[in-house]
């Protein structure tokens, strides 16, 4: 009896694996391989310092797929979770500097450093480049009377400290709220939205508005439940041209609030290896399918040179230091 059962299970598993395998082969057609003097021999591990299936993990998995397409080796995503994303960075810091282990740089790192909770900066790594542009957006309930950022700011001006603006405390959206407060000289009641539920708080009108990644709020804007008052960037999002950018809404000097995700290698990684991976990012970010898949999530692949990226990191770290000083000063 046991044997028959076992056989049955095995028989049922075969088609499952056969199909799964088939799909895998289709997903990786022969593609042009990035040329250059350096050819990698080891698979590249793309470390995401947050859990699988999360907002940082999903774009990373998509992008790694397209990086693999242009490389001889496989680019694998691994999640090393813990200590607010710092555990992953610490692991990569200890790894061999041969380009086989990279860490995704989330926007959290400069912030954590400025607040004194992270001990490392981009200088402790070999920065490779930016690969993802994600945009923060300010949303209010579609039933509310706020039609523009000006309305929201005017309401906060009229009743200081009562308009409830939500964000997950200590993340980029909190800094964005503070930046709006500083530039417009108003005061919000900054409420915390950590935990799972952000949208329900606004859907039920318990808060007046919140700031989150555009990808996360997109579907509520489409369903007509939320109104997006502005996106914290200077470039329009394709398909959502009617949403004003923060420049149009009258803000300046908010570049550090752009949600840019980068890639770091351990310090001491040879320059040609860094260049090779930077070129992989370039090829993947220009792939039409990759762009389409990312845009569907409200994000976009990005690319810049190693030098440009390192310079951006420098200004971002400096700016966060300034803002953090302002917070502590309060």
């Amino acid at each position: 009896m046991k044997k028959v059962l076992l056989l049955l299970v095995v028989l049922m598993m075969i088609p499952a694996f056969a199909f799964a395998g088939g799909d895998q082969e289709e997903a990786a057609p022969a593609a042009e391989v990035a040329d250059g003097p350096y050819v990698p021999t080891k698979d590249i591990t793309f470390v995401v310092p947050f859990s699988a299936g999360g907002n940082s993990d999903i774009p990373a998995r998509i992008f790694a797929k397209y990086m693999t397409k242009y490389s001889d080796v496989e680019v694998k995503v691994t999640n090393i979770v813990g200590a607010g994303g710092k555990a992953g960075a610490r692991e990569v810091m200890k790894a061999d500097p041969d380009g086989s282990m990279l860490i995704m740089q989330p926007v959290g790192y400069p912030m954590q450093y400025s607040l004194g909770v992270a001990e490392f900066t981009y200088e402790d790594f070999a920065p490779i480049g930016q690969w993802l542009d994600s945009t923060l957006a300010v949303v209010v309930n579609a039933d509310s009377s706020y039609m523009s950022m000006d309305d929201l700011v005017a309401a906060a001006d009229a009743a200081p400290g009562t308009i409830k603006m939500g964000s997950v405390t200590g993340t980029l959206p909190t800094f964005a709220t503070i930046e709006i407060e500083m530039q417009k000289d108003v005061e919000f009641n900054k409420v915390d939205l950590s935990g799972a539920s952000k949208a329900p708080e606004l859907l039920s009108n318990r808060i007046d508005g919140y700031i989150d990644g555009f990808g996360a709020i997109k579907q509520y804007v489409e369903s007509g439940q939320f109104r997006c008052l502005g996106i914290i960037t200077d470039v329009k999002i394709k398909g959502y041209e009617e949403i004003p950018t923060f420049t149009e809404a009258g803000f300046t000097g908010y570049e550090y609030l752009k949600q840019a995700f980068g890639l770091w290698a351990p310090k001491g990684t040879p320059a040609e290896v860094v260049e090779y991976i930077n070129n992989l990012i370039k090829l993947a970010s220009e792939d039409a399918e990759c762009i389409e898949e990312m845009n569907a999530l409200g994000i976009a692949p990005a690319h810049n040179s190693v030098a440009q990226y390192t310079k951006n990191m420098e200004t971002t770290y400096a700016k966060f230091q300034d803002v953090a000083k302002a917070i502590v000063g309060n």
Binding site: A27, S51, G53, G54, I58, A196, L203
Partner: protein, 498 residues
Amino acid sequence: MLEVFANILTLQNLSLILLGVAIGNVFGCIPGLNAPIAVALALPFTFNMELLPSISLIMGLYMGCVSGGLVSAVLLRIPGTAASVATTFDGYPMAQQGRGTEALSYGAFASFFGGIFSCIVLLALAPVLANIAIGFGPWEYFGTAALSLIIVCVMMSGKTLKGLIAVCIGLLLKTVGMSPIDGVAARFTFGNYSLENGFNLIVVIIGVFAFPEIINSIGKLKVVVKPAKIKNKLFYIPSWKDIKEQLGTMFRGSVIGTAIGILPGMGGGAASLISYAQAKKTSKTPEKFGTGCAEGIFCCESANNATTGGALIPMLALGVPGDTVTAIIMGALTLQGISAGPLLSMNQPVIFKSIIFAVFVANIFMFVYQIFTIKYMAKIVEVPKYYLFPLITMFCVAGVISLNNNMFDLIYLMGFVVIGYILDKNDYPLSPFILAFVLGGIVEDNLRRSITYYGSFIESMQQVSIGTLFVYLGVALLIYSAFRANRDKFKRFRKEKT
């Protein structure tokens, strides 16, 4: 609808669901491994699959994991997850009486009933219930969680005070680590960085339940457990008479489970413990609870499986996951280009229904798988204890290590073994302690959030909301039970006098 059936009822999808259920069952059984881990491990594989096969595999894993905890809870008194803590209360005594196969078949059927019930609710009422869930803000969560803690204590007849003390110890231990929300204060870490992440729930459960049980058994190594009656039949299902008798219990358990599942963060642990307390209170024979009665298994197993459909409601209808597993499932869907949320049921009704149908099929497979394997599982208790317990110890230690690859988890595991042993020996109930640990974060975070929303605790209490009602109800329940306990004493005192 035909399209929905055609989507899932393919050989490939069905075999993936079965595979998921089988693997999930193993993950559910082993303490330390649980549904979030199983689904997260499967995620990279699903990335290369089509949408429907990946949904099939994940839903199979999810259902398998949630029900798998039943086996180790009943046979070994070791709950694999928080959701099966309540199952040990009656399942284990039953297995010790040589009725292991019966206990497992009850559990399997109740799980099946709860799973299917919540699935139907999910299909029929998802958008409506999701809108009710929206009404739950921080203050309502605080009220619900605080009331749940009080209910579990009050229903420990005769042990309310000890239950409350256990709740307080649980809440206190939950505060260890970085303060929630702001992350500014490191509380009770004494400069030890490893303590900053607090204590892991799974480690606490293993420490409090598994090891004290092993220590207790050392004195009884020679005691032979009455072997379960293994009849020469292919599968075990409870008799029609049993099912008919327990229909009401299962129905109530399923309603409680679905309702708690809808509320993000509450989870199967809270659902089964509350359902157990409720069933004991309303039972005609409450004295039988804890001695191995069928009702005690039916109530909690139906509740913990009903949370699955409940947790999927806010995820599918709102894009708000109800627990860790659904959060990962939502990520898996996003990777497949499906964004769970208000638009899913409108724009892609076929996919929406296919997901629910996959859950439905997974529940059926889970039931069939369990009733076929009961025969083999029930033999575990016949393994001599001097072989079995070292093996379980090894599994527990390996499970703890596999959580974070952190040796420090093992060090505080020993601390919790001591706490669990002392509490148990002094007749302190452990379920309020665990529930406090499960809900402690929700209570604290939402109280703090309520205060930022409304200004202060007093102002929160003036809100016209179900949260305020629950807080008052909790206080009233405590006063009432204190009054009642003392009234009995007073009566006895008077009788002695006369």
